[in-house]
């Protein structure tokens, strides 16, 4: 059974007929070739497939593609600002060695985008609580925590500084 969906992904509009059994993750990877969204457990536990739906992080494996009709999706391919190589969060992961195999990284970065908006100056505890929703089997998490803390500092620094007389 197919169903028509219109969805905006990383600012671009798409119209496709999707199988109703397709998850949003399958749709992004197989129909739109956006393979940066990784699929791990396919039942919501590992967090690798996390994307933003209307700006909020969600599991792309726990939503049918048909349900994305009329919504806006941002994937890892859409986080870096136009004309720059990497988003500050990506930069921080690079600088702090926040990834090894990289499988879990796109999901963590998507979560971090929303998390740092809500917690611009996070504590280590808050970062670790957020990371509880993402499985990483390489790093032991320490460098990921450091990368997110570094990203928070970088994002704070990139805000316009108050005017000094």
């Amino acid at each position: 059974m197919k169903r028509a969906v219109r969805v905006t992904v990383n600012g671009k509009d798409y119209e496709r007929a999707v199988d109703v059994r397709s998850t949003l993750a399958d749709f992004l990877r197989e129909d739109l070739d956006l393979t940066g969204t990784h699929v791990g457990c396919e039942h919501g536990v590992c967090g690798a497939c996390t994307v933003l739906l209307d700006g909020e992080p969600i599991r792309a494996c726990l939503m049918l593609a048909a349900q994305a009709d009329g919504h806006e999706v941002t994937t890892i391919e859409g986080v870096a600002p136009f004309g720059e190589a990497l988003h500050p969060i990506q930069e921080a992961f690079w600088a702090k060695h926040g990834l090894q195999c990289g499988y879990c990284t796109p999901g963590i970065i998507m979560s971090a985008c929303a998390f740092l908006k809500e917690h611009p100056t996070p504590t280590e505890g808050e970062i670790r609580e957020m990371l509880a929703g993402h499985l990483c089997r390489c790093t032991g998490y320490h460098f990921i925590v450091e990368a997110i803390a570094e990203a928070a500092r970088a994002l704070a620094g990139s805000r316009p500084a108050p005017t000094v007389e």
Partner: protein, 289 residues
């Protein structure tokens, strides 16, 4: 594609959804947030032939507070309740922080979690602790199911297959009441091994005028503890009395053992958590008067 084949129908309103449920009956499952149903489809633990998607039913959205009653529509996400709770209900704010992870709470609905009826999940225990109820609608009728009549067994409620849970109602604790919430899980966001919630209120003399104590992760359904509450109501809440109530509450539980924790461990932890949440609740009470 992991799920077994199904037909997908989108409902446009609550009335449309109940009509579709009447038409498909046992064959259909309601899809709201999907955070429990989609994993079950992916693992083929559930194989409905029809999914009735209620996400387009705008009349099922909305969170309203009227007097002491909080009404949460079937489309309100757990995150929506969490955001409301940050300024309105520290008990809900604390409890929702333990429900899975933010990306799950962004999609998962409050009512969906209530009717999924996982005995280790937090919200069903809060429905019991806060004298809640579910509104259920079927073609040609609506009924209100009080919390103590909702949960029958793991993943099993008293909702009929053609009934749609349209909203949940919670009774917010009386003015000056204190609350406590605690949970033990292997990792933050995992299902609880054991959890416990309490609400206490005191009268002018400092005696307990209102006591609620509810557990989750201690058996096939969430449990509201009659013996724990009876040991407190009308009594002066001395530390010894709270300890006695917690002990009585834990003694009446019959948790299951599984690979995560033995039954004995769960019972011991339940008693410890009960004492902790009662003490926390007392510490947050203001005396009436």
């Amino acid at each position: 594609m992991k799920p077994a084949p199904f037909e997908y129908v989108a409902a446009s309103s609550a009335a449309d959804a109940v009509e579709k449920l009447r038409r498909y009956g046992d064959e259909a499952k309601v899809l709201a947030g999907g955070q429990s149903l989609i994993p079950m489809l992916a693992l083929r633990l559930a194989r409905p032939s029809v999914l009735v998607d209620i996400n387009g039913c705008t009349d099922l959205d909305g969170l309203t507070e009227s007097g002491s009653t909080l009404t949460v529509g079937a489309l309100v996400r757990q995150r929506g309740l969490e955001r409301w709770a940050r300024t309105r209900s520290p008990l809900f704010a604390e409890a929702l922080g333990w429900v899975a992870h933010a990306p799950i709470r962004n999609r998962g609905t409050v009512v969906g979690s209530l009717v999924h009826a996982d005995p280790a999940s937090e919200l069903p225990a809060l429905l019991l602790c806060l004298d809640g109820a579910l509104s259920a609608r079927r073609k040609g009728g609506e009924r209100v199911i009080p919390a103590d009549k909702v949960y029958l067994a793991p993943l099993t409620t008293s909702l009929e297959s053609d009934e749609l849970a349209t909203a949940a109602r919670f009774t917010l604790p009386p003015d000056g009441a204190g609350w406590g919430f605690a949970e033990v899980a292997r990792r933050h966001g995992d299902f609880a091994l054991v959890g416990c919630a309490a609400v206490l209120a005191l009268d002018g003399s400092g005696a307990v005028s209102h006591a609620r104590l509810a557990f989750f992760g201690v058996g096939g359904t969430p449990v509201r503890s009659a013996p724990g509450e009876a040991a407190l109501t009308g009594q002066q809440p001395t530390p010894a009395r709270l300890a006695e109530a917690a002990k009585a509450a834990a003694a009446a539980l019959s948790p299951d053992g599984d690979l995560h924790a033995s039954a004995g461990y769960r019972k011991t932890v339940a008693g410890t958590l009960a004492e902790r949440v009662l003490t926390a609740a007392l510490g947050r009470c203001r005396r009436a008067g």
